[in-house]
Symmetry: C2
Subunit: 199 residues, 2 copies
Amino acid sequence: MSFFPAPLENLVEKFASLPGIGTKSAQRLAFHILSLTDEEALDFAEAVAQAKKSVHCCRICQNLTDKDVCSVCASPSREKGTVCVVADPKDVAAMERAGEYNGVYHVLHGVISPLSHVGPDDIRIRELMDRVAAGGVEEVIMATNPDTEGETTAKYISRLLRPFGVRVTRLAYGIPVGASLEFADDATLMRALQGRQEI
Amino acid sequence: MSFFPAPLENLVEKFASLPGIGTKSAQRLAFHILSLTDEEALDFAEAVAQAKKSVHCCRICQNLTDKDVCSVCASPSREKGTVCVVADPKDVAAMERAGEYNGVYHVLHGVISPLSHVGPDDIRIRELMDRVAAGGVEEVIMATNPDTEGETTAKYISRLLRPFGVRVTRLAYGIPVGASLEFADDATLMRALQGRQEI
């Protein structure tokens, strides 16, 4: 039973439907909206509607964009021959923040996960194949997460890519910068040893 | 620097401006909005706009409502002679949940707090005085929080009410139901002892 007026209760429910927001937090957020000026509240509503309306996937790399082609794909200074394959648009943001990479991306929007009923046809693998088949791609860098599902997806895609004769690589495993050997897990240490490099 | 399209970045900023939501959470919420159907996202935007537009204060008790007079004030079964004074609309919800109270409310929308520059004229004390002056009120129950500011506000209002000759009471202090004496603080124990009742 609700003790708030219906439109407020509705807003509380909407906030509570967001991930990680419980009823108490949702109430606090809804009351915060009421405390805004009319203009600020309408701005908020407009931001929600506008983001959903204008953001879609880049025609080429499937990353999120509000244009036909995303800013990375549209940039003349990026090397179009190198494609970094990531699971999620947030991973593109992480790579861009690092500032080291000058190629382009391909966003899968998920990883193959039989337990969650996500098969190869449910993520954007076909689009990647079409891109490679169209030519011009020299190297595909697999940058899915280093967990079972990310690994499986990377292996699966690299097998599909074999007939095209492009170079397929994987982000290096190893000790994170700033971490201590003492607390590194066995699997990471083993991979770091296998991937050791000349200094 | 942002690596998301502008409308998405704008939505992330809007979420991050809400209380208790950091940048990472704001990103997660914004991506959740993108994952909704068009209809669900528009519903969300509409809920924000609608709550702000249609929710205002009840003409009589200052509680939040989307009508001219709130459901409590409009109910013929509530005793209009008993007014429970609370600081916040959430306190009305808490009292209603308890289900014991059958009078009406007055919401102050704050407490007197010199440190935060909130004086008696900044909260709805005048409206309460007008209500009592208009007659028909027999008892005013002070139900502000049992902290310094809540106490000060209750004391201040009870002094203002003295000339009207209405009964002014205060919610009982004591041991919370289910708590243990061992962990009760001194002030609460002292108040519980002072307020002891015949059984």
